[in-house]
Symmetry: C2
């Protein structure tokens, strides 16, 4: 069988080595499509694929049609909003994700960026501490849970919003989380319901001097509302590892 | 009484407000010497001081002689290596420090810089996680203890070197700490014994890909040896909030 690894942002060398070893040991062949620039490059080479491994790479209907032999697509990561699930169903392709696998890494990044944000990029002068601050975890899946564990070690006071779980210090409405917490950490998956969910009305509730940390998807932010409130509220800090798309946004 | 606050790097506005309130409520007068450039500015204005509050500001024999009325010097912070204690003793001046007061802030900075360092400054690509890494806490006072607590929440494996305490996971020799830990966090006070203590022979023991985090004093590093080993070992990462003085160092 031919396993095609499609990664516009490549895995680390060690990871690729590990994946290759496993695939070849099992008697299969690995084909790499790394750092591609256009979808056409993927379409051209996916024809032979029996299995596909991707990261955040977009798998749409056109790619699925081109990959006539594909039986399985594995998303290395938690969110699978980059895959056209409906088209996969029609083509009888199994889709799998790997939830929790990278959750600690994301959680550490999240905490690191919070410290970085409250210390104004490690510049000299007036830094603030995370200890005793109220942290609002918005979405408490694998990443949110790890953020909670680390934040407890720091001595933060934690509130959680997640309609799908029952846990301690939980708030019922997302509005409550934004009103009560100085730091909001976003860990919502990207779905029809969450797309653009974080906008003007929510963000304006954050207490003075607050911060939003987004290590989820950029699409859960309503960029227009976000820009408006960030212009009004110079006190707010936004830290993220997912760059927004709007041109207006980039100017700000 | 006149209390002179000498801070080349000023306190935050809020802190100054708080200090002023306390001093004036007690019926005393506060005089600020902020962001001074030369020692002469301090010497000129310290004549009237009954009490002195400083941060890392250097208080030497000359300043003490000029401050004829000084009865007490309070160092806002833990280390008091910036004060000529002997000269204070001679002049019958009480010297106090405030150990532990800023320890959480330093510990958070320390953890933040470790995450930042292992993620190559939050740049895209191959970041490493702190979880499951061996952290060597070199000096386990107020700051070291807080670093330990936070690092435990992250899931790091902790070893401690401190000849003045007895605790779990302690190593007897500093060499052992450097050999066994991928990340070394320095929390030694600056004394005659620790000055230049961290040099070539110690640092070369750190495992491949390791990191040193220095939120203590720059003087505990032997700069010459440090430069030598950092040239030899491109794999090592150094994160710090205390800039070294050597010109050679700055070029590197």
């Amino acid at each position: 069988m031919k396993i095609v690894v499609i990664t516009e942002k490549p895995f680390s060398e060690n990871a690729v080595k590990g994946i290759r070893e496993i695939i070849e040991k099992a008697g299969h062949e690995m084909i790499m499509i790394e750092r591609y620039k256009k979808k056409e490059e993927v379409i051209e080479r996916i024809k032979e694929a029996d299995g596909v491994i991707i990261r955040s790479d977009k798998i749409d209907e056109e790619i699925i049609k081109a990959g006539e032999k594909i039986k399985i697509i594995v998303r290395a990561g938690s969110g699978y909003d980059n895959i056209d699930i409906e088209a996969c169903n029609k083509a009888r392709i199994v889709v799998m994700n790997t939830p929790g696998q990278n959750s600690n890494g994301v959680a550490e990044l999240c905490i690191g960026m919070m410290i970085f944000g409250f210390r104004k990029g490690f510049k000299e002068g007036k830094g603030r501490e995370l200890k005793d601050k109220r942290l609002g975890i918005c979405g408490c899946g694998y990443v949110g849970k790890r953020v909670k564990e680390i934040a407890e070690g720091i001595g933060m006071k934690i509130k959680i919003y997640d309609p799908f779980i029952t846990t301690e210090n939980q708030v019922k409405e997302i509005e409550e989380l934004f009103e009560e917490c100085q730091i909001i950490s976003l860990h919502l998956p990207l779905t029809k319901e969450t797309k653009g969910r974080i906008g003007y009305e929510l963000i304006k509730r954050i207490p003075y001097g607050g911060m939003i940390c987004n290590t989820a998807r950029k699409e859960i932010i309503d960029e227009e509302g976000f820009i408006k409130i960030m212009r009004e509220r110079k006190d707010l800090i936004y830290v993220t590892d997912v760059a927004p798309t709007s041109k207006v946004f980039k100017k700000n």
